[in-house]
């Protein structure tokens, strides 16, 4: 589902990703971790086609990221959903409208849109806020709107950048359960987080630790790995 080989990415002279390689199959779950500035977000953006592949190769959901023409990028984004660290939701539109957006741009009929949006909002405990404008709800709620907008399309690959950053422990674990459900049903999930508890909660997952743009041995060990 995802293949990354010798991927490097630089902003000017600064290399934010250095020679990264990994591969994931359908339904795999990958935790992406590492200190702030390690390159997690950069890797997510490459995988979502927002940043070009400068060196190495990368493919996701059957799309070769290196040779994907801009005109066809939207097709990738219909299979690969992303939750941004800074949400990127529309503050002046309602929770409902934000979550419905990816379905509407696909031209889905509105009865279908209704059904899907309602189900997703309920699973993320946002149903009571669906008519609120996004700037009127809390940071944690906005974060869950961002998650809802990503999962509503039933993506093949789900990229989530610190999706629990603004949530308390209980909500974090609840959200983790949502991701786990998708993973169980065959969605490939890449989740960037600093939260060790989250990582420990899913023993079967793969882990990629980044530091200064390079893949490193994880310095702490779920199941006693690394040192």
């Amino acid at each position: 589902m995802i293949q990354v080989k010798h991927l490097s990415h630089s902003f000017g002279r600064y290399w934010a990703l250095k020679n990264i390689s990994f591969s994931l199959d359908k339904g795999d779950f990958l935790f992406l971790t590492g200190p702030s500035g390690a390159g997690k977000t950069t890797l997510m953006r490459v995988l979502h086609g927002s940043l070009a592949v400068q060196r190495g190769v990368a493919s996701i959901a059957g799309f070769d990221l290196k040779n994907l023409p801009e005109k066809r990028l939207y097709l990738l984004r219909r299979e690969v959903a992303i939750v941004f660290q800074d949400f990127k939701i529309l503050p002046d539109q309602s929770v409902w409208d934000n979550v419905a957006l990816p379905l509407q741009v696909r031209g889905m009929v509105s009865s279908q849109v209704h059904k899907r949006v309602r189900a997703v909002l309920r699973s993320l405990r946002l149903d009571s806020k669906s008519r609120y404008l996004c700037r009127e709800i809390s940071g944690g709620e906005q974060q869950r709107v961002a998650v809802a907008r990503a999962v509503v399309i039933n993506p093949k690959v789900l990229l989530a950048d610190e999706p629990t950053g603004n949530l308390d422990r209980k909500l974090s674990l609840q959200l983790m359960e949502v991701f786990r459900q998708f993973h169980v049903h065959g969605t490939t999930v890449v989740l960037a987080t600093h939260n060790e508890e989250l990582i420990r909660s899913l023993p079967g997952a793969k882990i990629l630790c980044l530091k200064d743009g390079s893949a490193v041995e994880c310095s702490w060990g779920p199941e006693g790995e690394g040192a």
């Binding site: 801009e70 990028l73 939207y74 097709l75 939701i89 957006l101 509407q104 741009v105 031209g107």
Partner: protein, 292 residues
């Protein structure tokens, strides 16, 4: 088809958002187009005035009232054989009748008939195409003056000058000015509309991130851009028409006798048409490189 309808709808709905920004954008577009319209109106009228005088020039010839009428008729016959466009002649009686007709009632024509104060006159028109208009006009004037019995020849030298100036000016300045004006208007309008679209950059970016195709993103923006251009253009035409109604007659007095004419239909259609195109183009440029 359903998507197309939705996109059209989105394009119109977009205009309803952020009303103040829309208001300022529309005002800028309308007023810029209005200024350009005033300029066009001015040029158009100067051109019209010059054209009409360029085509024909009038000489008014007055004969000495004491000069015998038979001789005058002989001269009329001779003049009409010259290279002129047309000639209208008035015997003193005809002139009096004309005068009486134009100030009906207030004048007792019969009481004057015995002692008619009016001279015999002729109104000669000839075409003034080509370069040496002034020379030909002067030549004609002296030719008429040399006829025995002719007291006075008047013609409209102002118009001749205007015509001559116009011939020189129109080729050298008219089209470059129109071009410059179009460029300036286009730039101002395009930039205004583009800025207006830029406000939706965030929305455009997010649409792209959730998998909207570029046509899905662009179409509503193009629709609202085109609509802004169209509405701005129509508003500017309205303003221009109001201005025209107010100023129509300001030059309608002697010796100018110029009625300011409104723009012809082709111009009227062209103004909103061009603005619509500019609107389309600027929206296209505003978002074209922001889809990644």
């Amino acid at each position: 088809m359903r998507i197309l309808a939705r996109l059209l709808y989105l394009g119109v709905i977009n205009l309803g958002r952020n009303r103040w920004a829309q208001f300022f954008t529309l005002s800028t577009v309308a007023f810029t187009a209005f200024m350009a319209g005033i300029f066009l109106l001015l040029l158009y009228n100067v051109q019209q005035a010059a054209r009409s005088t360029q085509e024909d020039i009038q000489f008014q010839v007055y004969w000495d009232p004491a000069y015998p009428m038979e001789e005058i008729r002989e001269q009329w016959k001779e003049i009409s054989s010259w290279d002129i466009g047309s000639m209208e002649t008035f015997t003193p009686e005809e002139a009096l009748e004309d005068l009486a007709g134009s100030i009906a009632g207030d004048l007792d024509a019969d009481s004057l008939a015995g002692d008619n104060p009016l001279p015999a006159t002729a109104l000669i028109e000839f075409s003034l195409q080509g370069q040496d208009t002034q020379d030909r006009a002067l030549l004609m004037r002296s030719r008429l003056m040399e006829l025995p019995g002719v007291q006075r020849v008047s013609y409209n030298p102002l118009q001749v000058d205007l015509a001559r100036t116009w011939v020189r000016v129109s080729s050298g300045i008219f089209w470059p000015l129109i071009g410059l004006m179009l460029v300036i208007t286009g730039l101002v309008v395009a930039n205004t509309l583009k800025l207006n679209q830029m406000q939706r950059r965030e929305e455009v970016e997010i649409l792209a991130l959730v998998g909207a195709s570029s046509s899905y993103i662009q179409f509503p923006l193009l629709v609202s851009g085109a609509l802004q251009g169209l509405v701005g253009g129509v508003l500017s035409l309205g303003l221009l028409r109001l201005l025209h109604l107010a100023l129509e007659d300001v030059l309608y007095f002697p010796p100018l006798w110029l009625k300011i004419e409104f723009l012809p239909l082709s111009y009227i259609l062209a103004i909103p048409g061009v603005l619509t195109l500019v609107g389309l183009l600027s929206s296209f440029l505003a978002v074209n490189n922001r889809l990644r």
